[in-house]
């Protein structure tokens, strides 16, 4: 089972890739676990965008591009897409 993580902007720059397919052991996981898995894979991404299990203030995640979430406990279902991007969308 997988969660598809799509990265935009600075998170994409730091990870060096746009999409990451993360394996999950159960039917669902949580945002905090995904952040930890990503941090292991991409230390530069973690340094800039994460603080432990949490997203740094300037960053936000979105479930399937619909709902924005930040809480590490937020459930993410296997098969779902999780987007990580800058929270500051001004321009």
């Amino acid at each position: 089972m997988f969660v598809l993580v799509e990265l935009f902007g600075i998170p994409r720059q730091r990870a060096g890739q746009a999409v990451v397919k993360l394996e999950v052991c159960e039917k669902s996981t949580c945002l905090g676990n995904i952040v930890l898995q990503l941090a292991e894979l991409f230390p530069d991404l973690a340094e800039e965008c994460f603080k432990g299990q949490q997203l740094q203030t300037g960053y936000v995640a979105s479930l399937g591009g619909k709902t924005f979430v930040r809480s590490p406990g937020t459930k993410v279902q296997a098969g779902e897409s999780l987007l990580i991007m800058s929270a500051d969308s001004g321009g």
Binding site: E6, F8, G9, I10, R12, Q13, E48, C49, Q56, T57, G58, V60, S62, G65, K66, T67, F68, V69, R70, S71, L83, M85, S86, A87, D88, S89, G90, G91
Partner: protein, 599 residues
């Protein structure tokens, strides 16, 4: 009277009689309106500018500086241009940056109020407070950057110049005022300047203001500068505002083909991540800025060709790319460069052309070459707009007036609010922003309402209007009003833990006032009410606070669930008005009106 951070007066210049008046500004007015947009709005109200046609000689055009200009604070070199908009007939405040702000303030005033019309096409010189009008001599018809170059060659490099391009001279209703490649862009301030027969304003000076606590201000400025290069601004430093393209596209929030869709298949080709692979890039800074958000890309992919480069912002990419169905990055860069040179607001240019393209698509307009996705058509339309030739004469009026000319219910899909073309935030996908657009005093505007920040958070469901949206929209609008009056760049906003608290601290150090965060909150709301008062005097009606019918009646082709509920939006506009202390339909309370009139 001496004030820390201010000169304590403005210069009122009648261009027809060439009479200059130095008008004192009292401490109460400065403390309440601060500078920039706030002070500019107050001065427009003093001039009773709402009742005049925006392009008439009596119309006032205000250049307002701020208490922070000239200070060591990062991003503080900014000025506001405030007038009645020829595009909306409502208030318009546009901001630009850099040396003009500093030299303008050093010329010895806190604002310039220009009234009347020069007898011939002229350049206004302000040399340490001394005023002179020069005939333009060879500048007529020149592009904005060429005008600056020619004038600096003639006058000297210590002069800072704000100018208009051919679009302003030809009274295009969304012409800009340009300085150092940046533009006071929205709402047509360039046409107001053109109507005054002013091609350029050149300023220099040596009159510096003093700070109440210079040592602590320097220490604070160093700390802010350090914070300004942290993760909160990484997006602007590394990719620029155009980094919105891919994220917005994924969220169906990237307006495409005149808001018929919210995503664009070729978005990848226009994203900075792709442009940077194939083109030479560089980055530049406004004066007194540590962020450096300005990203430039070579016009051509081949680095061996002439090294011309073009500044690219998200709004240029969206408006001249997806909105017009243009996939080719070169076409967007070239169109952007053309707008810069002509002095055209890219959002209104792209918005009006895209509207006309949809009119052609629907068979409402017989201009067969003006098709979505056609780069040559985009360039041709921009040329015609700036020169006001052929169909360009209608396009130069903006989408709302053009819809009046086309008729046949085309107003339903003219992409504007109060006449101002909607920026690159699809209202159906970002519905708190939709409310911000509807109630905005300047019209549809992402700089005066930052409600998209709320949509990009867990606080709301961005695809549905919610009861909380009204208060949240006010929160972002007030914050923007304060930032635009101090003035500080909005790209700093993520850096502040408690913006109002820090803003109060900054003002204490600069002015010596015992100002508090709650006073600043109240000032911000007061400034928004002052703008509303201007609009009411200019003939505002509650029916203006809405969106084009398309957003209520049509869902996005590529996200079928998204439509805006008209009744919910109306309900939230009433809530918004009540929370502002206005009447339910949006007029000021009599007490608010009295207070504003006493200022």
């Amino acid at each position: 009277m001496s004030h820390f951070g201010y000169h304590g007066h403005y210069l009122r210049i009648d261009l027809e009689t060439e009479q200059v008046t130095r008008v004192p500004l009292g401490a109460e007015v400065l403390r309440r309106y601060l500078g920039g947009s706030g002070l500019g709005t107050h001065l427009l109200l003093r001039e009773n500018a709402a009742i005049h046609d925006s392009l008439a000689p009596e119309a006032a055009l205000v250049f307002a500086f701020s208490p922070l200009v000239g200070s060591p604070l990062t991003t503080s070199a900014k000025f506001a241009v405030v007038s009645k908009s020829p595009l909306t007939d409502r208030i318009n405040d546009s901001l630009a940056s850099s040396g003009f702000a500093m030299a303008g303030k050093q010329s010895g005033c806190d604002a310039l109020v220009l009234v009347g019309r020069a007898r011939q096409n002229s350049v206004l010189l302000l040399d340490d407070g001394r005023f002179e009008l020069l005939p333009v001599q060879g500048l007529a018809g020149q592009g904005t950057q060429q005008t600056e170059r020619m004038l600096q060659k003639q006058l000297g490099n210590d002069w800072q110049i704000a100018s208009i391009g051919p679009a302003g001279e030809n009274l295009v209703r969304y012409a800009t005022i340009s300085h150092a490649g940046r533009h006071a862009g929205r709402g047509g301030a360039g046409a107001v300047m053109g109507a005054k027969n002013l091609k350029a304003i050149a300023v220099r000076g040596s009159q510096r203001v003093t700070w109440a606590d210079g040592d602590r201000l320097n220490a604070y400025a160093k700390d802010l500068a350090l914070r300004s290069v942290g993760p909160e601004t990484a997006k602007y430093r590394e990719l620029g505002t155009a980094s919105n393209v891919l994220a917005f596209n994924r969220l169906h929030a990237l307006p495409t083909r005149n808001f018929q869709q919210g995503s664009f298949a070729a978005a990848d080709q226009l994203a900075p991540e792709t442009l940077a692979v194939n083109r030479v890039t560089d980055r530049s800074y406004c004066s007194a800025c540590t962020i450096g958000c300005e990203h430039r890309y070579s016009l051509e992919e081949d680095p061996a060709t002439d090294g011309e480069s073009v500044r690219l912002e998200y709004e240029n990419v969206f408006a001249l790319g997806p909105l017009c169905g243009i996939e080719d990055a070169h076409a967007v860069l070239k169109a952007s460069q053309m707008c810069d040179q002509y002095g055209l607001d890219t959002v209104s240019t792209g918005g009006t052309i895209a509207f006309a393209m949809e009119c052609v698509q629907r068979g409402l307009l017989d201009v067969s070459w003006l098709k979505f996705g056609d780069s040559e058509a985009l360039w041709r339309a921009i040329d015609l707009i700036a020169e006001r030739r052929e169909i360009g004469d209608q396009l130069a009026e903006g989408s709302r007036r053009m819809a009046g000319w086309v008729g046949q219910d085309s107003l339903a899909f003219a992409p504007q609010v109060k006449g101002l073309e909607i920026p690159g935030y699809e209202p159906r996908a970002l519905q708190t922003m939709a409310l911000g657009f509807a109630v905005g005093t300047r019209g549809a505007d992402h700089n005066r309402s930052g409600a998209y920040e709320v949509d990009f958070s867990e606080r709301v469901d961005r695809r549905n209007l919610q009861n909380e949206s009204a208060a949240l929209a006010i929160e972002t609008e007030d914050k923007a009003a304060l930032m635009d009056s101090l003035i500080l760049c909005k790209f700093l906003r993520g850096v502040f833990q408690d913006f109002y608290q820090e803003a109060a601290h900054i003002l204490q150090l600069i002015t010596g006032w015992d100002v508090t965060s709650s006073e600043l909150k109240s000032n911000a709301a007061h400034i928004v009410s002052a703008k509303k008062l201007f609009n009411i005097r200019a003939g505002w009606h509650p029916k203006e606070d809405t969106l084009p019918a398309r957003f209520f009646d049509e869902s996005l082709d590529d996200d079928r669930q998204t439509k805006i509920s008209r009744s919910k939006l109306d309900e939230l506009i009433e809530s918004y008005n009540q929370l502002r202390g206005w009447t339910q339909d949006g007029y000021l309370s009599s007490q608010q009106e009295r207070e504003l009139e006493c200022d």
